[in-house]
């Protein structure tokens, strides 16, 4: 009975967090704020689903299965990496180097040290070329 209540609570929490994550993705105004919603809320939602799945497997007498833990671990490891990569791509394409605060080491921000894509702020235009 207690296991049922716990699984039910986990499933409801998972649904709410998943919905909040995707709603934030639609609602928040720009990419840098929008990154927060799926990488945090949705990851918690999926984590709760996977813990609920483990508990259900245990409740129905199958013992504790560790496959779900593997998926949870993988998602928790990869969500920050994808968020970092998307933020880097955004900085590279849309933000001029002059708009960013200075880094502590004097090395430019990631994605800002090489050639700028055509059309990005701070990119060399055709008129600048010799």
């Amino acid at each position: 009975m207690i296991a049922e209540i716990v699984i039910t609570a986990l499933l409801v929490i998972a649904g709410v967090f998943g919905l909040v994550g995707s709603w934030g993705l639609v609602k928040l105004p720009e990419l840098m704020t929008r990154l927060h919603a799926p990488t945090k809320a949705t990851t918690v939602g999926v984590g709760a689903v996977l813990v609920a799945s483990m508990a259900e497997h245990w409740r129905t007498g199958g013992g504790i299965s560790f496959h779900e833990l593997l998926i949870t671990l993988f998602l928790f490891l990869t969500a920050p990496v994808t968020a970092h990569f998307i933020a880097k791509a955004h900085l590279h394409r849309k933000v001029a180097p002059a708009e960013l605060p200075a880094t502590a080491s004097g090395v430019p921000w990631a994605g800002q040290d090489g050639a700028r894509p055509a059309g990005a702020p701070g990119a060399a235009s055709a008129a600048d070329r010799p």
Partner: protein
């Protein structure tokens, strides 16, 4: 009690998937679209695991694991392409 919670969670994630799809179509920038697609993959993983709970089988965990792997790799490949103009240099 659990079937109702399962229905609620599946409904929530289905609605979340629809919102992601709308975000993919209305996003103006490519990184925005990549972010929406990545969120879609995560929501599909949740739906797969929920279906696994509902069906009472363990075979969907392997599917979800493969989905997680390919989703991560495709997002990184997209971002790498946007950053460098090339995926594998």
């Amino acid at each position: 009690m659990i079937p109702y919670a399962l229905g609620f969670a599946i409904g929530c994630f289905a609605l979340a998937l629809a919102l992601n799809l709308w975000q993919v179509t209305r996003a103006r920038e490519v990184p925005d679209r990549v972010l929406a697609l990545d969120t879609m993959v995560i929501n599909v993983i949740a739906l797969l695991v929920l279906y696994g709970i509902a069906a009472g089988t363990g075979i969907y965990f392997e599917v979800a694991l493969l989905f997680a792997l390919t989703g991560f790799l495709s997002t990184v490949a997209y971002a790498k392409y946007l950053l460098r103009g090339d995926v594998i240099e």
